[in-house]
């Protein structure tokens, strides 16, 4: 927890605990501003360095992730730095699962080598061949894990190591803001209000 995050928590703790809810009601805009600022700090990116994965492993992990959420006109898993998320969580919240993940990755690489003699690694295959290969293994536990981790790495708070530049959130149209006011979308903009049902319809 960095310094700004600490002061944010102290501030919110003070408003929530000592000053009470009435104070919060009166000082609502200030609270929202504080929370928003703090949230931006809390969701700030972390450095894109590898801790657990070797460069070779990282290339394959990134290549698989980039097939799950491909790049194109809009950014995909590669640009969102999903590989760094996968690396970082296995040194952090998922440390207990790191050995299992690395074993699954090793099996994936070994199977690939057996079935593709002469190709150094999955990441070296052309795009179409990568897709075809993954279709053949999409029901394996390792692919399931990669799918899960790729989505997490795309959409979890950037402080976990992925979602670089909030590209994942941009992809799905999510904006991390602590307060909204109506209208929220296109269809509620001109809602005329709830029209009650005629009395005779009532049971």
């Amino acid at each position: 927890m960095n310094k700004n995050e600490t002061s944010r928590r102290q501030f919110l703790r003070a408003t929530g605990g000592m000053l009470g809810a009435t104070w919060i009601g009166t000082h609502w805009p200030a609270l929202v501003a504080a929370a928003e600022h703090a949230h931006q700090v809390a969701s700030g990116a972390v450095e894109q360095t590898l801790g657990i994965l070797s460069p070779t492993q990282a290339r394959d992990v990134e290549a698989v992730a980039a097939q799950i959420v491909p790049s194109g006109d809009t950014p995909g898993a590669r640009e969102a730095g999903v590989v760094y998320f996968i690396d970082h969580v296995h040194a952090g919240p998922y440390a207990a699962r790191a050995a299992e993940f690395l074993a699954g990755l090793a099996d994936f690489q070994a199977d690939f080598a057996t079935r593709n003699p002469g190709v150094t690694s999955f990441a070296d295959l052309p795009d179409g061949a990568q897709l075809a290969y993954l279709k053949g293994i999409e029901t394996t536990p390792f692919f399931g894990t990669m799918k899960f981790l790729t989505v997490l790495g795309l959409l979890a708070l950037p402080s976990y190591g992925g979602n670089a530049g909030k590209l994942g959130w941009k992809l799905v149209g999510f904006v991390d803001q602590h307060a909204w006011t109506p209208p929220f979308g296109h269809y509620d903009r001109d809602y005329p209000g709830f029209v009650p049902y005629p009395k005779e319809q009532r049971s």
Partner: protein
């Protein structure tokens, strides 16, 4: 936090086990009636400032829940199977903290309808089930539903639903602003001649009783409310209980045994504190409000020579008749943006299919509501159909998320004695206590009703003009946060665990009040009824205490 502190040598009037939806209400009612109350809560005490918008932490790393890491569970579909340990997510889950699951719930607050309490009389028996009437009816519950709406805080529009049961007062707060999903559900449903209406929610739509109004941040389901707008007991009942000066809420206190004496009276409870030191706290009476899974487990763990099958279990029904409420989803994508990640999950509901209709050929009823399900990670993992679960088709769906919504179905679960919570014969939790074993398989009618509701949801989304509509799976449930029926209420000690006042038939100074008291499941959204039961039970139990009838 204020209030009073009791010493272990003190004999308190009441120990309330659990501080959630039921325990919070119970503590306040007993304390305000002038009784000394010690609430023992196994989880920690958070403040609003502790909660965060971290979907990974709360939805996938179980930071607020009964984590399988220290509280493992086993699961099987039938008693003939060997139960296996549940992996990353608990089968029966709840928020483990002061305020319990009233912190992380969606805050849908439907009242039960009149039929929910007397369906057995209306429809007859259903072979192979323990389908029964409640010992109390809606008229008896009505004042307590009103009490929940006004004292806990519910937003809604009285009279909006033609199907609503009679009420003595309007809601204290207007409904929350409608979202695009609500407008579309309403549009499609009205086209089909149905009667959608504004959702009653236990979330403040305007400042209420010292709490601010909802800021529409969107992080309700699975999250604690940073704004104190969600009417969790953490922000409502618990502080009011403590303000009496007669209530202590002792967090990180894990009750694992209720002790009785040779006169078959409860003498107190044993619990572990945060450092796993064991304590015994004396009490004149105990009210178990630990939720529909843990209350049953606690009674079973309290077995002794006089109660070899568990405390208050002469009927053999403690832990049995576990019910969930069915849940299924229909997904839809529209032309324009909805931005469903904003604001509360639900703003419109359809109750046209609430009553069971023999013409359908199966028992069941339910409701539909509009929602996203609910935040970016969960939607991405769970909403896409299998053929679009990765690759370019998956990415295309992800980019459609701002235009997507969910219609969720909420339906009945029939009570079956074979569906149950009991103690795993081998697995232990991190405190060395027997792990919870869950046995559950939906009745065929439950799944038939779920599919029926899903069909109606598809029609509504098509009528609303969706560009693309698809169904989520309807399969046998393997878990739920709706924990119901395991200490059912009834007049007959042979076929129920607690009486109509939540006193156990077997032990005079032991009460159980939470989702476990339910006789039938209702159609979903049980917390409103859990809290109404707690207000009612609290009033009766306080009266018994004052009249020397405990």
């Amino acid at each position: 936090m204020s209030g009073r502190t009791f010493a272990p040598r003190d004999t308190v009037d009441f120990i309330v086990v659990g501080s959630g939806a039921a325990g919070g209400v119970m503590a306040r009612e007993l304390a305000q009636a002038g009784l000394d109350v010690l609430v023992l809560e196994q989880g920690p005490r958070f403040t609003a400032a502790d909660f965060k918008h971290d979907e990974l932490a709360y939805w996938f790393n179980n930071e607020l829940l009964n984590s399988p890491d220290d509280s493992p569970q086993t699961f099987r579909s039938t008693a003939q199977q060997q139960a296996t340990r549940v992996g990353d997510f608990p089968a029966l889950w709840y928020a483990r903290m002061v305020g319990g699951s009233s912190n992380h719930f969606t805050a849908n607050f439907w009242r039960f309808h009149e039929v929910d309490f007397r369906e057995r009389s209306l429809l007859g028996t259903i072979p192979g089930t323990s389908f029964a009437d409640w010992p109390i009816d809606y008229a008896e519950m009505e004042p307590y539903y009103t009490k929940v709406e006004w004292e806990v805080g519910v937003s809604g529009l009285a009279g909006a639903s033609p199907f609503d049961p009679p009420r003595s007062k309007p809601y204290p707060m207007p409904p929350l602003p409608v979202k695009s999903s609500g407008v579309l559900l309403e549009r499609g449903a009205r086209k089909l001649g149905l009667h959608p209406f504004p959702a009653p929610m236990a979330i403040a739509s305007v400042p209420y009783r010292g709490r601010p109004a909802c800021a529409h941040c969107g992080f309700c389901i699975g999250f604690g409310c940073e704004m104190q707008a969600k009417s969790s007991t953490l922000y409502t009942m618990i502080p009011e209980a403590e303000a009496t000066g007669r209530c202590e809420v002792r967090s990180e206190s894990y009750v694992f045994r209720i002790e009785t004496n040779e006169r078959n009276r409860v003498t107190g409870v044993r619990y572990f504190d945060r450092d796993r030191r064991e304590h015994f706290q004396k009490a004149r009476a105990v009210v178990v409000c630990a939720n529909g899974a843990e209350s049953a487990r606690l009674l079973l763990m309290s077995a002794d020579a006089r109660h070899p099958d568990g405390l208050a279990n002469s009927s053999g029904l403690v832990g049995r008749n576990l019910m969930f409420n069915t849940y299924a989803e229909v997904h839809a994508v529209f032309e324009h943006e909805l931005n469903e990640y904003k604001s509360v999950q639900v703003t419109r509901i359809v109750h046209d299919f609430y009553d069971s209709d023999p013409k359908r050929g199966f028992y069941g009823g339910g409701g539909l509501d509009s929602r996203i399900g609910p935040n970016p990670i969960a939607w991405s993992l769970f909403a896409p159909p299998p053929e679009r679960s990765w690759g370019s088709g998956f990415k295309e769906l992800l980019e459609a998320m701002p235009r997507a919504m969910v219609v969720a179905t909420h339906g009945t679960s029939l009570p079956l004695e074979s569906n149950r919570v009991d103690l795993d014969p081998e697995l232990k939790d991190a405190w060395g206590l027997p792990a919870m074993r869950v046995t559950y398989k939906d009745h065929p009618d439950d799944l038939a009703m779920s599919r029926f509701l899903q069909d109606r949801a598809v029609e509504i989304m098509q009528a609303a003009g969706a560009q693309r509509v698809w169904r989520g799976p309807v399969t046998d449930a393997v878990g739920s946060p709706h924990l119901l029926g395991t200490c059912r209420m009834g007049d007959d000690p042979q076929s129920s665990v607690v009486d109509r006042h939540h006193r156990t038939h077997d032990v005079r100074n032991l009460f159980v009040c939470d989702g476990s008291s339910f006789v039938t499941s209702g159609r979903g959204q049980p917390t409103m009824t859990i809290q109404a039961l707690a207000f009612r039970a609290g009033e009766h139990i306080a009266r018994f205490a004052k009249q020397g009838e405990i």
